[in-house]
């Protein structure tokens, strides 16, 4: 994983173990002691922190809709001037490029990782142990190390300035984590269905396509969404590997927009930013239904 890229749902209901007689209660019921008292203080503190976090986002929204936006807080307004300016600066094509990059990298990474994850989970593979160790090791590798050698390699074989090859690299950076995620996911699925299909004479690929993939679809979707979100905001890799003006993805486009004119135009910049963020936010909202259990893996090791 190249950047923190694990969206998940906010901690929902407390599902603490309740003894047989008790309907699920939450935490230790200190809330009972001063009804309103402690819960109020805690909620207030949390709300204050929340508002501190909200401020920058408030600026973003206010600035995007106010034609006279500055670096300070703008007055609430409702104008699309900034959005028009953003599109004139190339937001439309940049976002389209981002869709391409993120889309291709996601498809490649997900297909590749599903196949590999399945094999590593189910088949006999010589040296499986060391292979898995390498995969885990690659998960934590800083991508910055790969940048220069890949650049140099691409120079030699003339793969620079190609959105396709760039998205391959982006996809590859997500593959180790995706393999690990999918392999663990598949490990948890009982083999019975595949064995039943095998007994009935299905070939390997048919089993994969008709039996396994429908079963592991949630895992595949999680992996795909994570990869997409990761690739969507990619900056350094496209910056280095593809400098064709027409191929600029959103992140690079915004960067260029900041430095384009003498003075930073905060209004259009904010609008550009919102346009660029909307697809990812939508994706996150859709995926949060799937991911509510996703963080238990890190919290699951008990003392």
């Amino acid at each position: 994983m190249t950047s923190t890229s694990l969206p998940g749902q906010v901690a929902g209901q407390d599902e603490n173990a309740a003894t047989a007689d008790r309907p699920g209660g939450s935490g230790s019921r200190l809330a009972d002691w001063r009804p309103g008292g402690r819960k109020l203080i805690v909620s207030a503190v949390m709300a204050v922190i929340g508002m501190a976090f909200l401020l920058p986002l408030v600026w973003l929204i206010l600035a995007a809709f106010n034609p006279h936006a500055t670096s300070g807080m703008s007055a609430p307004a409702f104008s699309f001037t900034n959005f028009r300016a953003a599109f004139q600066a190339g937001a439309g094509s940049a976002i389209a490029n981002s869709f391409y990059l993120a889309g291709v990298s996601t498809i490649v990474a997900t297909v590749v990782s599903t196949l590999a994850g399945y094999v590593l989970s189910r088949h006999y593979v010589p040296l499986k142990g060391p292979i898995l160790v390498i995969v885990i090791f690659l998960t934590g590798l800083p991508v910055t190390l790969l940048l220069i050698p890949i650049y140099q390699m691409f120079v030699k074989i003339n793969w620079l300035n190609s959105p396709f090859y760039t998205s391959l690299v982006l996809g590859a950076t997500s593959v180790p984590f995706a393999i690990w995620l999918l392999k663990n996911f598949i490990d948890q699925v009982p083999r019975d269905f595949e064995e039943a299909a095998a007994v009935e004479g299905s070939g390997q690929f048919q089993i994969l396509w008709r039996v396994v993939i429908p079963l592991i679809m949630p895992g595949i979707l999680v992996s795909a969404i994570l990869t997409f979100i990761n690739s969507w905001g990619a900056f350094l890799i496209p910056l280095v590997l593809d400098s064709s003006p027409g191929d600029t993805p959103g992140a690079v486009g915004i960067y260029e927009f900041i430095t384009a004119n003498g003075q930073v135009q905060f209004g259009p910049l904010a609008a550009y930013g919102i346009l660029f963020s909307v697809p990812v936010i939508i994706m996150y909202i859709i995926s949060s239904r799937w991911l509510s259990g996703g963080f238990s893996f890190a919290g699951g090791i008990k003392g």
Binding site: D14, P56, G140, G233, L236, V280
Partner: protein
């Protein structure tokens, strides 16, 4: 682990299906890593004569690095950035939010949680320009801190980028630690209550020790993610003013693509990998008792 029920033969599909992944990983990970290990010891440049005819220069780059004050400053900045904004800020804030969330009113917890997570989902470049605006003269942060005429990004650049990164990354810790807290057995906490322990005593002696493995994993992941972070700082300050925020990834980029020293840039990247590996070893060591018990 070999499943005894599997037939120990190599199926044609095994190889076929592993090939795409293997091709990508070998081609775009393993080969570049090996190539990097070689390139880091050459005098390769981006342009000019040594772009084509570069040669192995032994430890020349390493010598240069060791005597490069900007490099050492960069290492220090990287550690400050990772520890300050990652470990301390994100973990403490994330833990605080997770603990508060346990007791807060449901609506508050859900809405604050959503805001914090939204900060995380936002593309990094957006975080960068938002905080850039925030800390300009006249920006909200400058105004709130009483320095409305100052360009905070010039006066306290490292602090600002740390705060921006903390703002962005807290959600991850909050979610991971919330999950970890859910795994603290309620009965253990209740037993401690009966033994007379107050909330803070319980937090210190029961809750935190139990979630220690989660905390370690969280910090490991934060470290690995932050140490190679490029976009945020580069977009906000380009490493400046004057290298004051040039953490290693940014310094590498500057050397490689602005000063054309690709070989030296690779050396810096290798140094970054070594530092990352050392930190990982540290965390894994902390986790060893738990890992041993799990196997």
């Amino acid at each position: 682990m070999a499943n005894l029920r599997e037939r120990q033969r190599l199926r044609p599909s095994t190889l076929a299906w592993l090939t795409p992944a293997a091709a990508l990983l070998i081609g775009l990970f393993l080969v570049p890593i090996c190539y990097a290990i070689y390139l880091g010891f050459t005098n390769l440049e981006l342009l000019g004569p040594t772009a084509q005819n570069y040669s192995f220069t032994g430890l020349a780059n390493v010598q240069r690095m060791v005597h490069d004050p900007v490099f050492w400053s960069s290492v220090k900045l990287t550690l400050i950035f990772v520890v300050g904004s990652g470990i301390i800020a994100q973990t403490v804030l994330g833990l605080a939010l997770a603990l508060l969330g346990q007791r807060a009113h449901v609506t508050v917890r859900a809405s604050v949680g959503s805001v914090v997570v939204l900060a995380w989902v936002l593309p990094e470049i957006c975080v960068a320009f938002i905080w850039y605006a925030f800390s300009q003269a006249g920006g909200t942060l400058s105004v709130l801190s009483g320095h409305s005429n100052d360009d905070l990004l010039s006066t306290v650049p490292l602090l600002i980028v740390c705060v921006a990164n903390a703002w962005r990354g807290t959600a991850f810790s909050m979610l991971v630690l919330s999950a970890g807290l859910r795994n603290v057995p309620q009965e253990a906490d209740e037993a401690a209550q009966l033994e007379g322990a107050s909330y803070w005593k319980r937090l210190l002696r029961v809750t935190l020790p139990i979630i220690r493995p989660t905390l370690m994993i969280n910090m490991l992941l934060i470290t690995l993610g932050t140490i190679s972070d490029f976009t945020l700082i580069f977009a906000m300050t380009q490493g400046g003013p004057g290298n004051q925020t040039a953490i290693l990834p940014v310094y590498m980029y500057i050397e490689a693509f602005q000063f054309n020293a690709l070989g030296y840039g690779t050396t810096i990247a290798l140094a970054l990998m070594v530092i990352g590996a050392l930190l990982s070893v540290f965390y894994i060591r902390q986790l060893r008792p738990e890992l041993r018990r799990a196997s």
